[in-house]
């Protein structure tokens, strides 16, 4: 019996390459911002024209999530102690040419954090290490067996707010080697720097990657007000209140003349 030859690593000359560009790299949030759609175009260069899959992952700035569970206490539905999940992006979308599970195996997706189920979200404050069955430093979570319920709830609630999404057919080949993806950005999307990763899969393995960045920033009046409110909060508060009282006084005077 002849052993199969070991797989030959592709030489740089004939390896596949992916290239991509965003049609918009700077999302400007001003007073009429109601969300946006970012279009991404890209191309796969593969001399051997092997079957390829493309996954586009957009990840917003990290935002810890505080979540509580309601339970019944004496007839009332009461929140539990809140649990903080770290490592959760404020925005996350994974768009692909096929369902992610068809493109690559669990382990590969997990390593790349591709798909909401594979995000590295955890609740470090709930974890502690202990010895179990003679094994030292076993990480256990105080959330116990419910841990997955909690984690799923984070994803479910974020998805309901349109902040997390998985689009199994969000990347489409429009021509030979040329693909297009559309990323819907809701008005609630957090401000900050977004990382866009474009992954090329062949045979269940990532073979090429490109990274692009997208900035969501407030501009104009919105930016001015936001900065004022955060840098000089007391003067902002006093001015806002003075304006409110003046408006009340003005309305009263205006109506008196009638």
């Amino acid at each position: 019996m002849i052993a199969a030859p070991p797989p030959v690593p592709p030489s740089p000359a004939d390896s596949a390459v992916v290239s991509a560009a965003l049609t918009e790299t700077n999302v400007r949030v001003n007073s009429d911002f109601r969300g946006d759609r970012i279009v991404l175009y890209g191309a796969v260069f593969d001399p051997q024209a092997r079957p390829s899959d493309v996954v586009v992952i957009v990840r917003g700035p990290e935002q810890p999530v505080r979540i509580a569970r309601k339970s019944r206490v004496a007839g009332l539905w009461v929140n539990s102690r809140p649990v903080v999940f770290q490592g959760a992006p404020g925005f996350y979308i994974a768009a692909s040419t096929r369902p992610l599970d068809d493109i690559a195996r669990f382990g590969v997706l997990r390593r790349l954090e591709a798909g909401v189920d594979h995000l590295a979200i955890n609740a470090p404050a709930e974890q502690r290490t202990e010895s179990r069955y003679g094994v030292q430093d076993v990480v256990v979570s105080r959330l116990g067996a419910d841990y997955l319920d909690w984690r799923n709830a984070v994803v479910r609630l974020k998805t309901a707010q349109h902040l997390y999404d998985v689009n199994e057919h969000g990347v489409r080949f429009v021509d030979k080697g040329l693909f297009r993806a559309e990323i819907p950005l809701p008005a609630e999307a957090p401000i900050g720097r977004y990382d866009v990763r474009i992954l090329l899969f062949q045979d269940g393995q990532p073979v090429a990657e490109k990274t692009r960045t997208l900035t969501v920033e407030k501009v104009g009046v919105e930016r001015g007000l936001y900065l004022w409110a955060h840098r000089r909060p007391w003067s902002y508060g006093l001015a806002a209140m003075a304006f409110a009282l003046a408006a009340g006084w003005a309305a009263s005077s205006a109506f008196r003349r009638d």
Binding site: P64, W77, I191, A229, P233, G237, F243, A247, S252
Partner: protein, 307 residues
């Protein structure tokens, strides 16, 4: 026409918010209440983060109260001295309440306390007020004489030291009950995100026994002072005041308050009270009964990272 709010970081329908401000302002001017107990739940329902809704609303309440207090003071129906005494208690209460609320948010129990406060306080006050005013209306319809007023003023109000004369209210009482009342309302207002008029008005009528003609104006005057402080505190400590949201609400609010203050003179006092009682009861039940129903979603995301 949609508008993006810089602090709340959501996009809202501007005309809807102006109309909402006008409606709440109208009710505020009519009954001498801040209207926060109506506005806060609606804003949260519209998707504005609760912390921003509560904070920005204090600017709106201050503006519409300012607008109607000027009208009332022209009619000489504001007891500034009583208002000042109430507000001195209210200021202490508001500061304590803001800290208490931060602590409750940290524990994740703010929602529960808010819902229970709405249910208990709005339920009791709405119920009592409704009972009393319907009784008064029925008696008038039957041309029955008003019930004899036993002991017009509770004696304990007279036994306390530090008496002060309140000429406009025709009262000579200790300042301790008004200060305590103001402090209590201040704490509640910070926790519930309201001005507290719905508690002040009945308390001034039934406990302090102030003449009905000065109650509304005086309540509004104390609300201006308390909410102005709360608004500045919220902006300074939590950066949660959205000036654009407040502006949208108060544009409608100041006009609505004027119309409300005018409309109030066309109704009888007890009918007005019955109507207010109904509104208060409905909001209290709507906010509180949710605690008893099985929620669709067992988990809730909490706003803020807990800092």
């Amino acid at each position: 026409m949609d508008l993006y709010l810089p602090i709340a970081e959501v996009s809202v329908n501007a005309p809807l918010l102006v109309a909402l401000g006008a409606l709440v302002g109208f009710i505020s001017g009519m009954f001498g209440i801040g209207g926060g107990f109506l506005m806060t739940p609606v804003l949260v329902f519209l998707g504005i983060p609760p912390a921003v809704a509560v904070a920005s609303m204090s600017n709106h309440v201050a503006a519409s109260s300012m607008s109607s207090v000027i009208s009332y003071s022209r009619k000489r129906s504001v007891d500034f001295r009583m208002g000042g005494v109430l507000a001195s208690g209210g200021v202490v209460g508001a500061v304590v309440g803001v800290e208490l609320f931060r602590w409750l948010r940290l524990l994740g129990q703010a929602d529960l306390v808010v819902a229970l406060s709405y249910l208990i306080f709005l339920g009791i006050i709405g119920g009592l007020m409704f009972w009393e005013s319907v009784g008064a209306i029925l008696r008038r319809r039957r041309n029955a004489p008003p019930p004899p007023r036993r002991d017009r003023r509770p004696p304990w109000l007279y036994g306390l030291p530090l008496k002060l004369r309140f000429p406009r209210s025709r009262l000579y009482i200790s300042v301790i009950p008004p200060i305590a009342l103001g402090a209590f309302v201040g704490v509640l207002s910070a926790i519930m995100g309201v001005g507290g008029g719905f508690i002040l008005v009945p308390a001034m009528v039934y406990i302090l026994r102030m003449p009905a003609s000065v109650v509304v104006g005086t309540s509004l005057f104390q609300i201006i002072i308390t909410t102005a402080l709360t608004g500045v505190l919220q902006a300074g400590r939590n950066q949660t005041v959205d000036i654009l949201l407040a502006t949208l609400l108060l544009v409608g609010g100041v006009i609505g308050a004027q119309l409300g203050a005018r409309a109030s003179s066309r109704f009888r006092a007890e009918e007005l009270r019955a109507l207010l009682a109904l509104i208060v009861l409905c909001v209290g039940l709507r906010m509180g009964l949710g605690l008893f129903f099985t929620p669709h979603e067992a988990f809730v995301l909490m706003s803020g990272s807990g800092g």
